[in-house]
Symmetry: C2
Subunit: 167 residues, 2 copies
Amino acid sequence: MPTSCRKALRKFEKSLPIALLRTREVTMRLFKPFIDSHDLTMPQWRVLRALAEDEALDAKTLAERCVILPPSLTRIFRGLTQRGLIEPVPCTDARRHMVRLTPEGLALFEEVVQESEPTYRQLADAFGAERLDTLLDLLNDLRDTVQRMPDEDPAEHPALRKVAGMR
Amino acid sequence: MPTSCRKALRKFEKSLPIALLRTREVTMRLFKPFIDSHDLTMPQWRVLRALAEDEALDAKTLAERCVILPPSLTRIFRGLTQRGLIEPVPCTDARRHMVRLTPEGLALFEEVVQESEPTYRQLADAFGAERLDTLLDLLNDLRDTVQRMPDEDPAEHPALRKVAGMR
DNA sequence: TATTGTTATACTCTATAACTATA
DNA sequence: TATAGTTATAGAGTATAACAATA
């Protein structure tokens, strides 16, 4: 059973958002060179990766999955389309902007995945493949949990009254 | 034993950097209103939080712990000093810029912690306090693991030759 | 000579609001 | 009227290089 060793964590290390940020930072640094070498930004890469899994996706779904705000996504679509990595897909709802990978986009995606594979295996070996799975499960479960938490009424937080405008 | 339920994860959800980003995003959104209401940015908050744990810290340590680049930290020091939340600490090594919380800074920190406490408890209840601990341990362990991984020679990655300049 | 931090600069992302087009 | 996406804009973060001061 992959239980992590219970070292005493410092108070600073117990902040969830900070722990997530710091861990992401070092992890990303590990894989970023592979993205950089193909002249992709991290948000662009997240879009390619999301599209590699599904046939085609609309802007709203991509924005949510890739944690990119709509205005940024518009720019990213422009860039990736100009490079011939994605292409628009006709959609019955003309409001929706659906896109998919082109063959070139898919090829680039698979190239990056292949190149970074050894680094990923090295990480899995050093940390433990099973613990890595546990971590991924916990991360995705936590995300689900938080998303299901009711958005609180700001008016109930005295400290937030000034933001909520006392309504 | 807090083992997460082994749901089948989609390929996209198995990307560690993306999972970390998405989970941080929803988690941060939960606590961000408390930071916002005191006119603090997230990086500023991370600095206050780090200083609340240690007596005084220098810029280099803060940059590493708070995942802030030195140029940004310089600006953050200016802002927090102007607001009277931090103050410089004389240091034997005149190159080092050491700072600590002022009493006002400490008071603000504790105010924010108190205000966000109910939300944190709500999260711990919904997700499971023990699983949350496990997650924090795994995150900090993974960070240590990655940081101990040798920086690879870019020249060994064929894909990175162009970046490394073939040296 | 190496280290710490600041300045300068360019670029990207973040965030909000206002607007257009479609349903 | 509500929704999807774009445009506009201001602000903050990201990243590098060049520089100053100190060790």
